[in-house]
Amino acid sequence: MPMKSFPRPSDLPVPAGAEGWEKIYPYYLVFQDELKDIEDEKFWFCDSQHWPTAFKPFETIGGEFAVKCLGQYNARHLMIPNANGIDFRVHLGYLYMSPIPVPEEQIEARLPEFQARIGHYFANWDTMLDQWRTKVRGTIDELESLRFDPLPEIVPMDDIVSGKAMDGSEVLMENYDRLIQLCYQNWQYHFEFLNLGYIAYLDFFNYCKEIFPDIPDQSIATMVQGVDMELFKPDDELKELAALAVELGLQSRFDNTDNAAEVLDAIAAAKGGTRWLARWEEAQDPWFNFTTGNGFYAHDVYWREELSIPLGFIADYIRRLDDGQQIMRPTEALIAEKDRIVGEYQDLLDSEQREVFDAKRQLAATAYPYVENHNFYIEHWTMGVFWRKVRELARTLVHHGVFAEEGDLLYLNRNEVRDVLFDLVTSWGVGAPQGPIAPAYWPPVLEERKAIVTALKTARPQPALNTPPESITEPFTRMLWGITTEQVQSWLSADDEDSSGLKGMAASPGVVEGTARVIMDASQIHEVEQDEILVAPITAPSWGPIFGKLKATVTDIGGMMSHAAIVCREYALPAVTGTGNASTKIRTGQRLRVDGTRGTVEILDVEETLPEVSGPGAHSHAHAPVGG
């Protein structure tokens, strides 16, 4: 059977207005004409799970650090026998990945190294994870300490007296470099335990499949998943605050939460308000270092900086409590159900099998919760501080006349920002009357880049590029992204199929019918209404507060262990993940039947399908003519 293919990078039309897009990203991130033969030979899949919308140039930092650091643990730290890292490129604003295999003849030699390394981690898990928390906290504390103050008018007298002999600009430059380095540092730490968590999970997974050949993936996941996880803590804190507000009779103060300061003042003036505010303050550190986004975008909004967001969620929880709804996660019931599932599978085994089963489950249950919990420390907390510091720097650059507005910085890549800093400190240092050169150089470039990014966002990425391999073997690709041979085939055959149905992973059991709400990014999540079915490229667990309203969830990308799958199982919602194109195929308002047990989504009222996004133009690779 001839293998069907996805388009080549050069086959893709450039959206109108995005011509010249490749020049806004660093050269090493885009496909190169010189490497076309090599790059077209490889299969690339789009990670729209983590990067659902087009990058602004500065924002590639998250993608670069995350995917690089993931890869280094395979290729350089743990010596995974059969998997090196994941190569990646930005194409038309989206991140595409290509796993790098280990040549067959090298696998054997890596085995002893691999076993020694993972053996050490698994044998010292708790100690090393404690060290990890200390390291990560240290990074975050240092990030918090970085200052990007405006440069002084003159060097202070004290520095003259002490003979410091520095003008202060070095602090700005050092802190910028340190900001990037600290971000890089926590991304390295991010993956110290992540791949191990997946390895332990995979070992248990495969053993389960051996002894219970058709065991649903969901059952395996449930048996190792933590119930009381740090990642759910921010949402739990809001629920507790809502319950306390009800207990203290403060409901009426939450009628309109748009202006956080007013709400908090009103609470302070109310009886019992002091007690509530004390609890509110306590919850913020660290749990409000939490974003409704996923930490990878500068536009991600963090609770601690936009208090109207947590207040709005609290107000919603208060309404539900007043309606007599149960808002707390049924933790005890979830634990009891997990114990029941583990117990019933155990009972089916003889004593030898049971010993192996218990050992593997124990290891997976120890190592796996990290896969969830790290998210709070890195994506939410670290990146929250990082983006806040970037904004502080941007403010100072605006203050010095480098940029007209704070958001301009994001349209430079991080090395261009360094150039701008040299521009600033030089012009400032020499006392140039016109200030930095930047305002003479950047405005037209910024205008062009803003237009390009806007244009890139109008097109959805392809699920993948080029010809897929006969089978997808890289274990992390399969687990983390749900990119399996079957999945890729289903993407490829999507065009041939009955247009009313979608197939994905049966990520969380149950069947419901309801109305679709398509949400393309975090900024739209307030549109979700009670009892709708969420359809999104991805979901983030930080959308927690809306999950209580949902009937089911459908995503484009993500496997059994994607955040969407886990949070849905946690909230006992049916979920189908990894459908490839649900968010573009389904429209808000359509009736859906979601079967999270079988992994199918049926559009009950089919209309005509959406037109393909197309646009004229060419980019660095020679383009095929764009058809109608």
């Binding site: 995974i80 076993q115 390895i199 002894i211 219970f212 969901q218 890289e474």
Partner: protein, 358 residues
């Protein structure tokens, strides 16, 4: 000695009195499972009939020196014995007990209902599975006369030519050979089938395999249709795989008896169970397994006369023996060559990662 035992009578079921099927139905009823009501005509009733009518002695002399290779002779003997079993007078005490039990059942059902009459042999646990198949089942029997007539037919089924030859060839003595008969309210099945509390194709005990078709379950048991086949996870009750069969006929009541009827092409190709019903059937099978502490093979039916939620009935549950015994054998083989390793097993972890490269 009781000649009749109702399913719900609070008497410890004895296999030798009730036969395998009868004992199982009494046990399941006592365990609170949804078994249609009925009663068992015990082996004591059969024994009493044989001795009072003198047939016991006749059988012994008929079989004495019978040449099992002489098929014609065996057939003649078989016919003679069966003729006696279906016509000789049944003792008054047995008749009264049966009549009372039948009347009670009719009262319990709120009026005249069709019943199933099935033989329930004490020797059903013999290793040769085909032996069980020699027992008879009569469905949709109306009226007391029909019931007694078919009870006798069940008795007579002990002396078919095949049964006679089987026993003689395997030196199974006829002394002590007996037969109980189950009389049970007939389920007006909309959908029925079987369920095995394991995956019969690989012995995976974490699965439940359901076969289901339209109408009375005989079509599934006897292989008259390709049933819907649904494999479920026993622990989470999720559907793992399903194949929709071609259920081209169904067995449904017509003019006071069961008749085969064509199923429309449209209905033949849709699953004959709703999601909720699939879960209910699996839960029922699971309950039966839990009760008996070993894998079960159950027969079930959804009664079209009962309301949703109360319409799933358990008709039979017996140990699944084929795969259970096969599995033990392989386990022994494997345990010799592959000792299990507990603790952190780096070899296994490596193998897991490499598996996909295979």
């Amino acid at each position: 000695m009781n000649y009749v035992q109702t399913f719900h009578a609070d008497i410890e079921p004895e296999l030798e009195n009730l036969g395998g099927k009868g004992a199982s139905l009494v046990t399941m009823t006592a365990a609170g499972m949804p078994v249609p009501p009925g009663f068992v005509v015990t082996t004591a009733a059969f024994d009493s009939f044989l001795s009072d009518s003198g047939i016991a002695d006749e059988i012994l002399s008929e079989l004495n020196g019978l040449d099992t290779d002489n098929v014609t002779e065996v057939d003649t003997v078989s016919a003679r014995i069966r003729e006696r079993l279906t016509s000789a007078e049944v003792p008054e005490s047995v008749r009264t007990a049966t009549r009372d039990a039948y009347d009670e059942l009719i009262t319990q059902c709120g009026g005249e209902v069709p019943v199933a009459v099935r033989s329930s042999a004490t020797a059903e646990d013999l290793p040769d599975a085909s032996f069980a198949g020699q027992q008879d089942t009569y469905l949709w029997i109306n009226g007391y006369a029909g019931v007694t007539d078919h009870i006798r037919q069940c008795w007579a089924s002990l002396y078919t030519s095949r049964a006679i030859i089987y026993r003689l060839k395997n030196s199974i003595p006829d002394e002590g050979l007996s037969m109980a008969v189950v009389v049970q309210k007939m389920v007006n099945a909309r959908t029925a089938g079987v369920a095995i509390t394991m995956n019969p194709s690989n012995g995976d005990r974490s699965k439940i395999a359901i076969d289901a078709s339209w109408g009375v379950g005989e079509t599934v048991v006897s292989g008259l249709v390709t049933p819907d086949n649904i494999l479920m996870d026993k622990v989470t009750l999720q559907v793992v795989t399903e194949h929709i069969g071609e259920k081209h006929i169904e067995l449904v009541p017509a003019d006071g008896k069961l008749a085969e009827r064509e199923v429309s092409a449209e209905r033949a190709e849709v699953r004959c169970l709703t999601d909720e019903e699939v879960t209910s059937v699996a839960s029922l099978a699971k309950r039966a397994e839990k009760h008996y502490q070993c894998p079960q093979d159950i027969e079930w039916a959804l009664d079209r006369d009962l309301p949703d939620g109360e319409n799933l009935l358990l008709l039979q549950s017996r140990p699944e023996t084929v795969h259970s015994s096969a599995k033990k054998k392989t386990e022994t083989d494997e345990s010799v060559k592959k000792p299990a390793t507990a603790g952190i097993d780096l070899g296994s972890i490596t193998a897991s990662l490499m598996k996909s490269n295979g």
